[in-house]
């Protein structure tokens, strides 16, 4: 069965800090890894990664995948209170139709 582990489970930072979130996985026939941000309701898509070593960036957020060591990191620089959310990592593996989700990392940014 596919397995996705996120760490830390939660963290509290102050505005302006940099945050690094981790996602490790064990899947059969890896196809892609996705990051989502969830505030109060529906998760919203951030990145999809399929190739090792290629950084994806969107504003202050960036992510990279290491397919040899089976992990990904999500970085948030110059954090703002609006970055407070649950960040979910998901992996598409052996089953064509399913994503396996990690438990999420809850990030709280204090002013």
């Amino acid at each position: 069965e596919d397995k996705v582990v996120q760490s830390p489970l939660s963290l509290v930072v102050h505005e302006g800090d940099t945050v690094t979130l981790n996602c490790s996985y064990e899947v059969t026939n890896f196809r892609s890894l996705l990051w989502y941000k969830q505030e109060k309701k529906a998760p919203t898509f951030l990145f999809m990664l399929t190739s090792s070593g290629i950084e994806k960036k969107s504003g202050r957020l960036s992510s990279i995948l290491d397919k040899k060591e089976l992990f990904s990191i999500l970085n948030i620089t110059a954090t703002q209170t609006g970055d407070s959310a649950i960040y979910l990592c998901a992996v598409a593996g052996s089953n064509d139709y399913k994503l396996s989700f990690g438990a999420g990392t809850t990030v709280t940014v204090r002013a």
């Binding site: 996120q6 196809r31 892609s32 996705l34 309701k41 529906a42 998760p43 919203t44 898509f45 999809m48 649950i86 979910l88 998901a90 598409a92 064509d96 139709y97 399913k98 994503l99 396996s100 989700f101 990690g102 438990a103 999420g104 809850t106």
Partner: protein
């Protein structure tokens, strides 16, 4: 553009009562559809998915069921709710055409269910 609707947004039900949550997708055809449950502060647990009308795959044995009576409609049901059914229920879809990355799932606004 594509949109996904879920209703109701919140629901409070007594133990032993029935449940029906509905999800509809607009602006796409033949989507893959998914039901997830999320406990407070936790990740997403896949409950059911469907790749076509009448086709349902169940991931977790429980007292819930799902149906897909139309291409863009997905329903989650229970005959008798348990306390443990409380949670945040999310519907999601993926596109199956060349215009979509078929791994990327798009989520509805969710239904917060409290069973008392």
């Amino acid at each position: 553009s594509q949109t996904i609707h879920q209703w109701p947004a919140t629901l409070v039900q007594p133990v032993g009562s029935p449940l029906s949550l509905e999800c509809t997708v607009e602006g796409t055809s033949n989507p893959n559809l998914y039901w997830y449950r999320q406990a407070a502060g936790r990740g997403l647990q896949l409950l059911f998915y469907s790749v076509g009308i009448g086709q349902i795959s169940s991931e977790v044995p429980q007292n819930l069921s799902a149906s897909r009576p139309q291409d863009r409609q997905f329903i989650l049901s229970s005959k008798k709710l348990l306390l443990s059914d409380s949670g945040f229920y999310l519907c999601a879809w993926t596109g199956t055409s060349e215009w979509f990355s078929y791994n990327e799932q798009f989520f509805g606004p969710g239904t917060r269910l409290t069973v008392l």
